[in-house]
Amino acid sequence: MTAVHVEAPAKDEVERQLRAWMTASLDGDAAAHRHLLGALSGYLRAYFARRLGAGDAEVEDLVQETLLAVHLKRSSYDRALPFTPWVYAVARYKLVDYFRRSRRRAHIPLEDAGTLLGEDDPEEGAVRTDLERLLGQLPERQRALVEEVKIQGFSVEEAARRRGVTAVSARVMLHRSLQWLNRAVRDEDR
């Protein structure tokens, strides 16, 4: 086991921080969104590793799948409720779904949502289902846009200008590509 498990700070404090980032991200703050997903990936990695076995190549797949779901389903979060139970339920849903797809029977206990914040593992593992490969199946226009944003590091506005489309339609294209990617990962046979 190469992963470095770091003792996480007090859960209340983490909840407060995550919720503040989530609220800001819902208000359109991209930096808060990046912080949120970055922090979540560590907690998710440790959580999935406990369930699947650390070093399992599918742990990182599940982390990515869950981040995609957190992103695409963030409108379902109710700002009046605590954030940890929401993200825990999303992670558990993705884990249950993973076992169902891989035709393995597993009992995944319904724990206190706070267990998700129990451990943090910032060390990124190798992936099995490569999102890169799935993205390669997108139609050419969408694929090119996603690559400019992701690999070349352009903002959506810059990428839109380079491809000669409006920023609005580039945003729509990017969003559709992510929704498509989410479905492609879910329907991938493992």
Binding site: L67, D78, W86, V87, Y93, E124, R186
Partner: protein, 213 residues
């Protein structure tokens, strides 16, 4: 793809989400589907003019039952679509509303002359009532499924599908009440509820497939 790259990609897709977005989408789904159903009641079932139907007290008896069910069921849809949220009181309200209606229906039959009880219970239209309500619920169900898929994240697709079916069935029954000539509580609590229950069961079955994410 590295997880860090994925996060960068997602960060580029951040758009502000208005408060109450999920509720607004649900309202649009209910309104859109409900408009189609109302159109079907007016044009296909050729109901009496709306003002005439709405001027009769028995329409409001039926409508308060089914509208209260609609509201409680819609609360359930919102809660079931929020990961980690508790269902809380909405199912209790729905059950309470149903039990009150059962009480009214039983009271009506007990108070009636024994010979007229069967006629009161079956009315003139018991054969068509439940199937029509089930059929009329389909547009509302579809509108709500679109809204839930767009903005909510149901952890239990079958349960959420059932709640959507309950909402759709109860609202369809409310609109069907404009056409339906029956006036008795015993009739309504049986045949209306049966149609609503069928919509709930169908909604649960379809939800298993339609609501996964």
């Amino acid at each position: 793809m590295k997880t860090g790259d994925l996060i960068e990609l997602l960060t580029n897709d951040v758009q502000p989400m208005a408060r109450g977005l999920a509720w607004r989408r649900l309202a649009v789904g209910v309104a859109g589907g409900g408009a189609l159903t109302l159109l079907a009641v007016i044009l296909w079932l050729r109901c009496q003019p709306l003002f005439l139907a709405a001027s009769q007290p028995w329409f409001w008896m039926k409508a308060s039952y089914t509208a209260a069910l609609t509201a409680a069921a819609l609360m359930m849809v919102r809660r079931l679509g929020t990961p980690g949220a508790q269902l809380r009181a909405a199912p209790v309200w729905a059950a309470g509303v149903f039990l009150i209606m059962v009480g009214l229906g039983v009271g009506q039959l007990v108070g009636a002359a024994p010979a007229s009880r069967l006629a009161l219970w079956l009315g003139q239209t018991w054969r068509v009532c439940s199937p029509l309500i089930l059929l009329l619920s389909v547009p509302i169900y579809a509108g709500l499924v679109v809204a839930v898929r767009a903005t909510l994240a149901p952890i239990h697709p079958a349960r959420t599908g059932a709640a959507i079916g309950l909402t759709a069935g109860a609202l369809a029954a409310t609109l069907y009440g404009l056409h339906c000539p029956e006036q008795g509580a015993a009739f309504v609590v049986t045949w209306y509820s049966l149609g609503i229950a069928a919509a709930t069961a169908g909604g649960a079955l379809a939800g298993r497939w339609l609501l996964r994410w």
